[in-house]
């Protein structure tokens, strides 16, 4: 009989119920979309922030002071310490290995170069030294567990963009030149400070894919190095625009330093630093230390890297890490706020329509009471109806909301958030709670109704 009454109320006035349900479904749809996006957006945004580049810098611990101005190290090639390349695979064995998004080792050296094969033994004494940056692009790194991992500078420094051509391939004596270098030295001839020594017969054209660069190493003249095939021109907006970029092994050969690098850039996904992360790990209790170690704070990842790569000094690139932390925390708070607003709006609307649907059924309530139903039974009956509405409306709202969240996610991040069961659970309980709360007040009044005046229409 109870179920029949509930079912009857739905079939008798489908339009009215539809309206209440529509309000519920709409409200819950916003709530679902906002909740899904907020849950997902933190990770997505953190990944977006990786376009700022590496947030960790690894250098040899026992190094002499780099003489770095504007990104160029003026130390002689034989000064300072180096780190072995073969250790790099270990980066993907640390606790937070999946948070290491990319890494790229750097070895800088200097050569004298000319796009012209002047002759076999030119006098290169007057020529300036050209900075050469050796690094990885699309490099396969062997991980100790037997797999390989592809990484390189194009991932750690995404603003290094090719203006022309393509990136070099390893083992082919290929190189990529900076855009200023290409422009300035398109003039064929030895790259004198003013280019004055260029032969008059040389034709002017920019250095670009297809050109050849003849290198000469060593301080004295006549030590011809390999001839490099230029395959691309890169625009970095930094000092690299004046340099030649080559594969790491080639730079090692040019520098006479096989198997080593000098600097390593690591780009890691991290959790923004909070008060806990700023504590000194040395003063933490063992339990605190475990929590800290197992949270992807940048400082924890830095410690894990220095434990794995012996003899290194891992520093946090503060401008990137702090800027990211600040913006990320704010945006996340803001999104939660908007989500909360959406939930509030949904709650109010649903509550209002639930209240209205109880108020308009005064006559029915009066009739039931006149027929001998107790206040409790009437309340339970109406609550059951509202709950049914909440579950159906909440379910529909969830489905609509997932679609909305997909649309939003795809438009903004090009990535759809995964539907989560957790969200469905939250939405359904929220819908039930809101409808019950919304109808509680009118229900209480309804249970106090005297049937006679209502049936008389007063």
């Amino acid at each position: 009989m109870f179920l029949r009454l509930v079912a009857d109320s739905f079939t008798r006035r489908p339009k009215r119920k539809m309206l209440t349900m529509a309000a519920l479904a709409l409200g819950m749809a916003v709530a679902t979309a906002a909740l899904s996006v907020s849950l997902d957006v933190g990770d997505r945004l953190a990944q977006e922030f990786r376009s700022l580049g590496a947030n960790l810098l690894v250098t040899p611990e026992a190094d002499s002071l780099p003489l770095e101005i504007g990104g160029v190290d003026y130390r002689p090639a034989n000064a300072g310490a180096y780190l072995p390349v073969e250790d790099l695979g270990k980066l993907k064995t640390i606790f937070w290995r999946f948070n290491i998004m990319a890494f790229a080792p750097i070895l800088e050296t200097q050569v004298k170069a000319s796009p012209l094969a002047v002759d076999n033994v030119p006098d290169t004494r007057g020529w300036p030294e050209i900075p050469v940056i050796g690094t990885w692009v699309n490099h396969q790194v062997k991980i100790p567990d037997g797999t390989t991992y592809t990484t390189g500078i194009e991932k750690t420094n995404p603003w290094w963009q090719l203006k022309e051509g393509r990136w070099f391939e390893e083992g082919n004596n290929e190189c990529v030149v900076g855009k200023n270098f290409a422009e300035r030295h398109g003039l064929a001839g030895p790259m004198g400070p003013s280019g004055a020594s260029a032969p008059a017969s040389a034709q002017r054209s920019d250095l670009g894919p297809g050109s050849e660069l003849y290198t000469y190493t060593g301080n004295a003249n006549r030590a011809p190095g390999p001839a490099l095939h230029v395959v691309g021109v890169v625009d970095t907006g930094g000092p690299e625009d004046d340099a030649i970029i080559v594969p790491l092994d080639l730079a090692q050969k040019l520098a006479g330093k096989p198997g080593v690098y000098r600097r390593l850039y690591v780009s890691a996904l991290t959790k923004p630093e909070d008060a806990f992360a700023r504590k000194d790990p040395k003063t933490m209790t063992p339990a605190e230390f475990d929590t800290w170690y197992c949270t992807p704070y940048i400082s924890a990842i830095a410690l894990q890297i220095s434990q794995e790569l012996k003899g290194t000094d891992v520093r946090v690139i503060r401008r990137v890490a702090e800027g990211e932390g600040n913006v990320l925390t704010r945006v996340r708070t803001l999104l939660w706020l908007v989500t909360f607003a959406a939930l509030l709006a949904a709650a109010l609307a649903v509550g209002a329509s639930a209240a209205a649907s109880v108020i308009e059924r005064r006559t029915e309530i009066g009739l039931m009471k006149a027929l001998g139903a107790g206040s409790g039974l009437v309340a339970v009956l109406l609550a059951a109806e509202q709950l049914l509405l909440a579950f159906v409306g909440g379910g529909i709202g969830y489905c609509v909301g997932i679609v909305l969240a997909r649309l939003l996610g795809e438009r903004i991040f090009g990535f759809a958030p995964e539907p989560k069961m957790f969200v469905l659970f939250v939405i359904l309980s929220l819908a039930a709670l809101i409808t019950l709360l919304g109808s509680a007040f009118p229900l209480r009044r309804a249970s106090r109704y005297e049937p006679a005046p209502i049936l008389r229409g007063e």
């Binding site: 309206l19 309000a23 709409l26 916003v30 810098l57 800027g323 945006v331």
Partner: protein
């Protein structure tokens, strides 16, 4: 309208006949208006704040000498005096730099780099290091970092310097110690007032006063470059760069591509995300309020039936209900939007640490939106036009 007093009297009775219903409707409308105005205001404020937040990434504009491109192509040891002069600028250009852009303060710091030799006072072990002379509002404004052992009284000393954390480790010095600097026979000394860790090249450098570096390099009045931190949207920063390079034709003014690209991308993503969620929430808030109110409106069919029975034309009846809806929309909107603005000020404080500025344009907009929503909610009443009064009174339909 000849029956104007009567019209308004009926409207008044419509409004006051059932207080609990009036309360529910006003609550829904007011809450909708509050959310609308709070979110609109917060969104406008957040976009503006975001560009300020990005400045924690540090300097984004660099002014260098025109020929700076040659800098990397010759070693400094072989560079002769004229070459060194060519690669610097006259510090008089600092006066030409704007200190404000779009009413936001623009920090600018001038640098002169010297590769000299440095030793801790008392030891005679000199090691090569980069000595950077700085002038302006200080390093921390353009390059975020962690300063340790900062001493304010030492900082005001004319011969004070700041040391990068790696350099401090190399020379085994801490704040308060003295460093000896020399370059090609010229000598200077300075007292360390802080150790700075930025994670960048600064960690290995020594930051002395500009005059000290100029004396060491024998380049009086010259600077290597100027770093500036400009607040604004990516487009505004581009405009700033164009303005400055027009003003200082001899210099090469450029943005840092790394920051410009990432900031631009992030700014558009985040503001897109905010706008999208806010618009979504607003649309659905209005829909929800509408759905809730329509439910209330339909229950009014008794009133409609009665009015029709005593001869009211349907147009008149609808006009009555529209007047009621507009009045409620205005009331709910005025109160709700005001509450929303106040809430958004407080929310701005919670999110950005700075109270959001109320944008007065938001207030009328959210009131208008509320009125539109309430009118739209009265629309289901139009369907009541087909109602026959008799069936209403019999309790059917």
């Amino acid at each position: 309208m000849s029956d104007s007093p009567m019209f308004w009297r009926i409207v008044r009775r419509l409004l006051t006949s059932n207080y609990s219903r009036l309360f529910v409707i006003l609550l829904a409308l007011g809450a909708g208006a509050a959310i609308t105005s709070a979110l609109l205001n917060l969104q406008i404020d957040a976009k503006r704040r975001l560009t300020t937040e990005f400045r924690s990434l540090g300097a984004n504009v660099i002014i260098a000498p025109r020929s700076a491109g040659n800098g990397g192509s010759s070693t400094s040891s072989s560079a002769d005096e004229t070459d060194a002069r060519q690669r610097t600028m006259d510090e008089a250009m600092l006066a030409q730099l704007p200190t404000e852009y779009e009413r936001k303060y623009v920090p600018a710091v001038a640098f002169l780099y010297v590769i000299g030799e440095v030793a801790k006072a008392g030891t005679l072990h000199y090691e090569p290091a980069v000595i950077a002379g700085t002038q302006g509002q200080g390093l921390t404004e353009i390059r975020p970092g962690k300063r340790t052992g900062y001493s304010a009284e030492l900082a005001s000393d004319p011969a004070a310097c700041e040391v990068g954390v790696k350099a401090a480790g190399q020379f085994k010095v801490a704040a308060g110690d003295e460093l000896l600097l020399r370059n090609q026979g010229r000598q200077a000394s300075c007292k360390i007032f802080a150790v700075i860790a930025t994670g960048g090249a600064e960690d290995t450098q020594i930051f002395a006063k500009l005059e000290t570096a100029q004396e060491l390099a024998e380049l009086p009045g010259r600077i290597s470059l100027v770093q500036m931190s400009v607040t604004g949207t990516p487009e505004a920063v581009k405009q700033f760069i164009a303005n400055v390079s027009e003003k200082i034709p001899g210099a090469d003014v450029h943005g840092i591509k790394q920051l410009a690209e990432a900031e631009g991308k992030l700014y558009h993503r985040i503001s897109g995300l905010l706008s999208a969620t806010v618009v979504l929430v607003l649309i659905l808030t209005s829909l929800c309020v509408m759905a809730g109110m329509s439910n209330v409106a339909i229950e009014r069919k008794n009133d409609v039936g009665l009015m029709k029975a005593i001869g009211g034309s349907i147009r008149r009846v609808v006009r009555l209900f529209l007047a009621e809806a507009i009045l409620m929309g205005i009331a709910g909107g005025l109160v709700g939007s005001a509450v929303g603005l106040v809430v958004s000020i407080w929310l701005g404080k919670a999110v950005f640490g700075v109270a959001a500025q109320p944008r007065w344009i938001v207030y009328p907009i959210s009131v208008i939106i509320t009125v539109i929503v309430s009118i739209a909610s009265a629309f289901p009443l139009r369907r009541l036009a087909s109602i026959s009064s008799a069936s209403v009174f019999r309790g059917e339909a």
